[in-house]
Point group: C2
Chain length 286, copies 2
């Protein structure tokens, strides 16, 4: 029905759904020590990167995810100066983070250098800030890096990883969260991509449970659209080092942000924090 020469298809077995894009060409494919990366030219969504068969991003809609993952936590933290990104190899989140003038330093720890090298080639717009003197790109194991990082050395930790299978599995458990809590400075904020509100609800609940078990006093999810991921609806989950209201953010700063966005604005931020009833109820029960 869908000729694989004309369509790229990702099957999400967990949700019994699949998403396909009409492709014009396969531009690249390689097996790295960590995973299988492929790049396609699609007809309508620009370029598409897949890792182990899952869509990571398309040129056309990655702004949704990257703006959510960067601007929601950075406007929630009162003074984000030192940011750590775990994963994030396509550099789209890094680019958004660097738009914040308060940010003095960003360390990005991506396990697979090939993701970044291929992003530089095929998604150059996402990598345009990689040369920013505030940015340091490391290619290393984020779990080990976090275990060795200095205590209270980061204001915001952003976990921008693949799904919790394969290389990213260890980024979704209590041991890792405990290290993140240790590395966060007072006022610090942790944020992680946390899959689909409707297709992977159980995973979101489990992330909240593990974060609290690790010692984070408060956790909060936000939802946003992301067409190229299963169900087209995605989430991030924030956790605060101290008990702070994670529905409050620097709304005036968000309104007067000195950079352009395509999705994010103060109203959209508040809207993302509005949880649908089924998720609100499920989270209230944990």
């Amino acid at each position: 029905m869908l000729d694989p020469r004309e369509w790229f298809t990702e099957i999400d077995e967990r949700s019994g759904s699949a998403l396909s894009y009409r492709i014009l060409d396969k531009l690249h494919e390689e097996q790295t020590p960590f995973q299988r990366i492929a790049i396609y030219e699609t007809r309508d969504w620009g370029r598409l990167m897949s890792i182990d068969g899952c869509v990571m991003l398309t040129s056309r809609d990655n702004f949704l995810y990257h703006e959510a993952m960067a601007h929601i936590p950075l406007f929630t933290h009162t003074a984000p100066r030192r940011v750590v990104i775990i994963g994030g190899g396509d550099c789209g989140t890094l680019r958004e983070v660097l738009k914040h003038p308060e940010v003095e330093r960003v360390v990005q720890v991506e396990i697979d250098e090939r993701v970044t090298r291929l992003a530089e080639k095929h998604f150059p717009e996402l990598c345009e800030s990689n040369g920013d003197p505030r940015a340091e790109l490391l290619f290393a194991d984020g779990i080990r890096w976090m275990a060795e990082a200095k205590a209270e050395s980061a204001d915001v930790i952003i976990v921008d990883s693949t799904d919790p299978v394969g290389p990213a599995e260890g980024l979704f458990n209590e041991a890792f969260y405990r290290q993140c809590l240790r590395v966060l400075a007072p006022g610090g904020l942790f944020v992680q991509q946390s899959e689909s509100p409707i297709a992977h609800t159980g995973l979101i609940l489990s992330i909240h449970r593990h974060l609290r078990a690790a010692g984070f006093p408060l956790t909060r999810s936000a939802c946003f659209p992301q067409p190229c991921y299963p169900s087209g609806w995605w989430s991030l989950t924030m956790a605060a080092r101290e008990a702070q209201d994670l529905t409050r953010f620097r709304e005036d700063a968000a309104r007067s942000r000195p950079f352009p966005t395509r999705w994010y604005n103060a109203e959209v931020h508040r809207g993302a924090l509005a949880l649908p009833e089924f998720l609100r109820e499920a989270l209230a029960a944990i």
Copy 2:
């Protein structure tokens, strides 16, 4: 790659994407005088109804669309007593509308009686209010019905139709909107499903233009998740008979609503009204 005996696939040629669901069985298929309807049992999303190859709804996620289409306009109107639904044959929107105690009468005008008969059989939960004495189910051409309807006889008109191709095409133009405006009573509100914010942005702009050309002084879109539709992100567009702020709604009533919801709440309503920057800018320019 996706065996059609195991997967139902909808191809959205407009957006060069396709969405598939793992199916256990095809329960029914028929050609009506208007369209081809099929019902599948999916593995993970309950039952699925398709019309002319496009997913209309699944058991698992239709609450998003139906709650958005009913509760957003009904809490925006100050006193919704007389409601007209054009289309809506699966009766899910009707069920949500009838949850509002202020509603005294709902006329639903569905062109294809078979949609409703099949919903009664395969989605009985959506049809549980069809016997409500306030509801009248007509099977007729909504365009003609609207042209013949009494002036100022409806408080809210909900156009819950298929895509603007085939039988529903005539529901997306100025002539139809003009009739709707005529039929709306003072304070009246029109709402229409208006496709994907990201995949069909041009259509949303065109709906706004046609609504204003028809004489509606104010129009406003809202966005919401809908996994089973292309891009997983959907919209509705409201138009007010008089110049009223469509971002205002009966927030206290929404908070103290005397019925359960799974998606809708006052915060989610406000969140749906928060337009992403790219759409806000595009709409500001028309």
